[in-house]
Symmetry: C2
Subunit: 432 residues, 2 copies
């Protein structure tokens, strides 16, 4: 019998876990395509942006993760087209100047942040979805303190020491809390002209409260914890404009040199290449087994999929655990297909949700359980270390946290610029 | 009595050690200016380029290093001009939109790589002086293996798997050895279409042998060790051209997609602002006490200075230990000046030199002592850990090395791209 060819697009939680499930299974050939060479542990990305961890602490080469599986072929490259299967002809994915034919396709290319039609805001309000963006945010936040130290104009200083985080979901809450903690503890003794404790941090949320997916009680607790770190929480406040000088919030102008965007997501545009409906955020609306209507061998998973269930009529949330479980589910489904067994629907085992605030507070909800404060923070820490891929990363992240916890310092306070050239003008001349 | 104002330009080994020597000394006010926010442990920079260490492992915020000294003010910014002192008027340094007047000036702005009049080569042959360049080299080296894996054209594959390192000094030797080790061990099981062991690595040196500052014997040993890692050592070979497709070596064209430059240095151009002679590499020729002729309170130190002594008529080498000792010497000199004591000349305590080759070989020379092989490698390791600044960095680098040593893996195998934007076209539109 011919090997079944599985092509997976995306090396995130869904893609990696699907490939692992199929690793070294006989009769299966897997090709995993990603535009980057690394799998990223996104739940800790905000800690890279906030100088607590290094990029390499939360990213592992996809090749290294899958090296033991001789039937898995890894390709680094952009996916340029998807050809749908037709009668007696398999579909294929075009990437890195090649066609990769498939018997099964798993599309799990994730999501990026969305500006609701104002993509021009990105320049002055970066989002947080990649290591590059995390490094850029780190550069901006640390540079603002440097510029505040050397200016003598009070207006300019105030604008440099004002940080606005747009979006009150878990990412926004974690970013705002981390800036609060950094300014109050880490940087407090490092400057002479400014007092980093005077830093203003605004968390702006369009809805009536932060953490809308949590209970009212947890959201209120998180708000109090944020306020203790100097974060002002502005709810029911809509951002109407963003420029180099600041943010327009509900008509009012707020002078701020650093604006971070954590307000919305948009699924990968690759989903638009499939002839099926998508929701407002560009997610492909999938069948209960994650396949798409009319194509039982094409699946969409993770942040790129919208699966509406009886319990969650708005669709499953775009979190790592959903993607991870869907990846595993699809690997198992393909093995059952080969055995001629009937397909079953995907069932999400909801383990709950959590968000940290600063260095020892968190909120956690799981089933009927609600925790907050130090105990929730310990639970948060254990869960994240448990899921972090790769033995080395676990050890290094734990040590970084232990060191930061004891010293209040941050291990990766680097401002790295975007250009590496020493002779940019000569180089440019030769390129012309 | 008025405080004496010391302005230090550059937060490298010379600048940091001068500032530390003057830290919390009464009657002294220190301003340290650097364009970057971090002090860089340059001797380990090649390990960042070769994915063994993370940038944060070898870089520490200058503010954090000097936080305990209440009389030290740190400025992040470019130095734009130096005004020399005149009768009854102090000199000053202009940086970050400010004038910083000084009674003492220490210019220690370091050096960058030099292309001997061919700066246009930089685009295709980056040098290794900053974290940005190290990350760029890492990106190029790792990407070459990725492209070799997905191409089907044998010529293209060969060019992607050919690496040329120009310059046979310690940096060139360390880079070439590390590529050899990475291709033979770290990556060996990670690819399916290519065999990374077939990687060609050329170390090209214009002089008659590599490691010209070492003995013939050590150089011969290093050559043999490099060859065991698959590095071909080409001596008496002059590079006459570099393009996107490869290198011209002594008239012959060598197809290679990755070329690294470790062939020459050029001192910071800030030295040209002083009215004194400089040598061919742009280094300021200093008096025995590191001051410049005619200005007893202006000093130049580290890679930017050329100090010719009886024992070293060509000048002291551009290494970390010289800079470190000169920084300390200048701090002590200023304290002695204040006590009215006579100045003494700077005396370099030469502790020797070393270079590593791959994962457990090195050459070391100190006084009459010559070591090579595993013993020299252990000595290299201990010395570098000892000098690495900051308790945290020492622990993390040691652990990274231990982990790499045991597993043959590399902890920072990340390809990070240069642009962070998700919506570059929209952003560009708004900037117009």
């Amino acid at each position: 019998m011919k090997n079944r060819r599985v092509v997976i697009v995306g090396g995130g939680f869904a893609g990696i876990n699907c490939a692992r499930e199929l690793g070294n299974v006989s009769g299966v050939e897997v090709t995993l395509i990603d535009r980057r060479n690394h799998h990223l542990f996104q739940p800790l990305l905000y800690q890279v942006a906030m100088a607590g961890l290094s990029p390499a602490d939360i990213a592992v080469p996809i090749r290294a993760l899958l090296a033991d599986f001789r039937n898995v072929f890894v390709v680094q490259g952009d996916v340029e087209a998807i050809t749908l299967p037709e009668a007696n002809q398999p579909g294929s994915v075009h990437a890195a100047r090649h066609d990769y034919p498939f018997d099964y396709l798993v599309l799990a290319a994730g999501a990026q942040h969305a500006y609701f039609g104002h993509e021009e805001w990105e320049e002055n309000a970066p989002g947080l979805k990649s290591l590059e963006q995390a490094t850029e945010i780190r550069r901006r936040v640390l540079s603002a303190f440097e510029r505040a130290e050397t200016t003598e104009m009070p207006d300019e200083r105030r604008a440099q020491l004002t940080f606005v985080v747009v979006g009150g979901g878990p990412t926004g809450v974690e970013l705002a809390g981390a800036i609060g903690e950094m300014s109050r503890f880490t940087l407090s003794r490092n400057f002479r002209s400014i007092d980093p404790k005077l830093t203003r941090i605004m968390l702006v949320e369009a809805g009536p409260r932060i953490l809308p997916s949590f209970s009212e009680e947890s959201a209120a607790r998180a708000t109090r914890d944020l306020e203790k770190l100097g974060v002002q929480v502005w709810t029911s406040s809509r951002v109407t404009g963003i420029s180099e000088d600041g943010v327009q919030v509900s008509g009012e102008t707020l002078r701020a040199k650093t604006v971070l965007w954590a307000a919305g997501v948009q699924a990968s545009p690759t989903g638009g290449w499939l002839p099926v409906p998508r929701d407002q955020a560009g997610r492909v609306i999938v069948e209960p087994d994650l396949s798409i209507p009319g194509f039982p061998c094409i699946f969409v998973a993770g942040d790129q999929a919208s699966l509406r269930t009886e319990h969650m009529p708005q669709g499953l949330p775009g979190v790592a655990t959903v993607a991870l479980q869907q990846g595993r589910f699809l690997g198992q489904l393909m093995k059952r297909d080969a055995q001629g067994k009937a397909r079953t629907p995907f069932v999400y085992w909801d383990k709950g949700q959590m968000a940290t605030i600063g260095r020892r507070r968190a909120v956690l909800e799981s089933g009927g359980l609600r925790l907050s404060g130090l105990l929730a923070w310990w639970a948060w820490l254990l869960v994240h270390i448990y899921y972090l891929s790769g033995f080395r990363n676990r050890i290094f992240v734990l040590l970084s946290w232990a060191w930061s916890y004891l010293t209040f310092a941050r291990g990766a306070r680097l401002i790295v610029s975007k250009d590496w050239r020493s002779y940019p003008s000569a180089t440019k001349l030769s390129a012309q």
